[in-house]
């Protein structure tokens, strides 16, 4: 029972990070129909920026906010300068552009920060934690959950309850109608990329603390969040969050219980599991768990 809870907590924390990444994909896709293959590189950029902010002596919380904002603004700039002019072009053009943007970012990060591993200092003790239901929960996991929770609730309120949220959803549903109602669709795009960048940086920073260190492979986490996006349904923020959390938990439980049973073959089974699930889902429910085929009655 203790092991289970321990795995569950760690899994929830990892899942919360997946949820942040997946939500970033969904927010951008919904507003501007761009599938952002550079999302992982945004995440990596934000994380490296954080290490630099800390290295120059900024207070941790300040560094965190700055790194998130800077990554968000980078997203805004990329959308405005490179992707906005692509509107109306075939989908594969924007896909190739985002892959290209990812490559450029990767090269920039390597040039600037090198390829070595870095640590991510934390304002709390990394070996410390609390006990919950008689099982240990690391501070890292606790804070990851707290931060992700705050961001997700904040996003929910913005998206569902604010005027800007109505504008974002209107734009996602019918761009021409949104324009026709006087909604500044360009600003909606910008806000979406800002939000996605902020979420990506936060996810990267927590990933840098655990279970990985800060390195240039962390952009592949975005790949790991992919299944969450597709299982949740490309258009559904709620789906992305639920699928992200579930995948994190499932992954760690698999690592704890199933991998050992598979012997040497199963060492990395937990890493392929999300993709296996994704393929299964795509076959059975191509529009994902929460994606809708189209609410319309004519």
């Amino acid at each position: 029972m203790q092991t289970f809870l321990q795995l569950l907590f760690a899994g929830l924390a990892l899942g919360a990070i997946y949820a942040l990444v997946a939500l970033g994909f969904v927010v951008i896709y919904r507003s501007s129909q761009v599938f952002n293959f550079a999302h992982g590189e945004f995440l990596m950029f934000g994380t490296f920026l954080m290490t630099t902010f800390l290295a120059v002596g900024l207070w941790w919380w300040v560094a965190l906010v700055l790194a998130m904002l800077a990554t968000g603004l980078l997203g805004v700039g990329v959308e405005r300068a490179i992707l906005r002019p692509m509107i109306g072009r075939p989908v594969f053009v924007t896909i190739i552009m985002t892959i290209f943007i990812g490559l450029v970012l990767r090269v920039a990060v390597i040039t600037f920060w090198g390829v070595g591993e870095r640590g991510m200092p934390t304002p709390w003790r990394t070996d410390g934690g609390i006990r919950l239901l008689d099982a240990p929960m690391l501070f890292n996991a606790l804070w990851a959950l707290v931060f992700a929770g705050v961001m997700l609730v904040g996003f929910y309120l913005l998206f569902q309850r604010s005027k800007l949220g109505v504008a974002m959803r209107a734009t996602a549903t019918d761009q021409e109608v949104a324009l026709g109602l006087g909604i500044p669709v360009g600003r909606v795009f910008a806000v979406s990329w800002l939000i996605a960048g902020i979420l990506a940086a936060l996810a990267g920073i927590f990933l840098g603390m655990f279970p990985r260190s800060v390195n240039i492979n962390m952009s592949f986490v975005a790949l790991a969040a992919f299944p969450a996006v597709l299982i949740g349904g490309l258009e559904s923020p709620l789906g992305a969050v639920i699928a992200g959390l579930s995948l994190g938990v499932l992954q760690l439980l698999t690592q704890g219980y199933v991998n050992p049973m598979l012997g040497s073959f199963g060492q990395n089974f937990h890493q392929v599991l999300p993709f296996v699930l994704m393929i299964g889902f795509l076959v059975v429910r191509p529009y994902g768990l929460f994606g809708t085929r189209e609410v319309e009655r004519v």
Binding site: G88, K163, V166, A167, R169, A170, T173, D174, Q175, E176, V177, A178, L179, G180, L181, G182, I183, P184, T292, E294, V295, E296, R297, V298
Partner: protein
């Protein structure tokens, strides 16, 4: 059609005959830098009147509305000639939100409600350009005008019936407090009873001082509630006149009301007629 266009100008009709709110002069629109779709259209909407714009599929009615509301851009269309003014201010070159703030709202063809937003969110989206605190009051006003919408304010708009969706589309447009309402085929696909309902709503709005440009293929309804009408064909105005005159006009009766003088339509004659008219115009 020289004598037919001479029957009068808008404002001579039964309406209050105020100064023009909307004036379009010699408008030309080109799509994809290649296709000339509007070929010199002029049209006037006098203050406080309902003006009908009739025309068959592809005549360019929707294109005209896009030009007025700043939505040609996203269709790769462009105004290449002409001028349009609303209460004396130029419209072309303005962004859609600026046009709404001037006081023009539009109900697009096929209703185009935001299917996965709630009824209330649709209305709020219609008030996006407004910053004043009276938006809430206006929501209630729309619910009072359209009780079905009030009853279903929290339901997802995509599940409303076709008629309810049309009412929602109108209510949404009204949320920006327009003085000129552009309606694109609001009776399309509605049962006869609902067509009458829409007509009644338009008349009511008009009585409250909103000027209306009503684009329709349902000529009988449109002419019944408008004071003046225009008939458009392949990008040109080919007829215009006070609505009751248009309703009596043999050609309009035959081609837009389906009430030919001899009762039955003869396709060969139709084609002959069209050819002749094109040559004349």
């Amino acid at each position: 059609m020289p004598d037919r266009s001479a029957v009068g100008c808008p404002g001579d009709g039964s309406g209050k005959g105020g100064r023009p709110v909307l004036e379009i002069n010699n408008l030309e629109v080109v799509y994809n830098r290649a296709v000339l779709v509007l070929r010199g259209v002029s049209l006037t909407v006098p203050d406080g009147e309902v003006i009908a714009l009739l025309g068959a599929n592809g005549a360019g009615k929707t294109t005209l509305l896009r030009a007025l509301t700043g939505l040609l851009d996203i269709h790769d269309g462009e105004v290449t000639k002409g001028r349009a003014t609303f209460e004396g201010e130029d419209l072309f070159g303005e962004e859609p939100d600026a046009i709404i703030r001037k006081g023009i709202a539009q109900v697009m063809e096929r209703r185009r409600i935001l299917a996965d937003l709630t009824v209330e969110e649709n209305l709020l989206a219609g008030a996006y350009t407004r910053r004043d605190p009276e938006v809430r009051d206006d929501l209630e006003a729309q619910y009072a005008r359209f009780p079905v919408l009030g009853d279903r304010r929290r339901s997802v708009a995509g599940y409303l019936s076709g008629g309810e969706q049309q009412m929602l589309a109108v209510a949404r447009a009204l949320m920006s407090r327009p003085r000129l309402l552009l309606l694109d085929e609001p009776t399309l696909g509605l049962a006869p009873m609902l067509v009458d309902e829409v007509a009644r709503v338009i008349q009511e709005l008009n009585q409250q001082g909103i000027s209306v440009l009503l684009v329709e293929q349902n000529a009988a309804t449109a002419l019944a509630i408008s004071s003046y009408g225009y008939v458009m064909e392949t990008g040109k105005i080919v007829h215009d006149g006070p609505s009751e005159k248009l309703m009596e006009d043999e050609d309009v009766r035959e081609f837009y009301l389906g009430l030919g003088g001899e009762g039955r339509r003869n396709y060969r004659e139709v084609k002959h007629y069209r050819r002749r008219k094109r040559w004349l115009s």
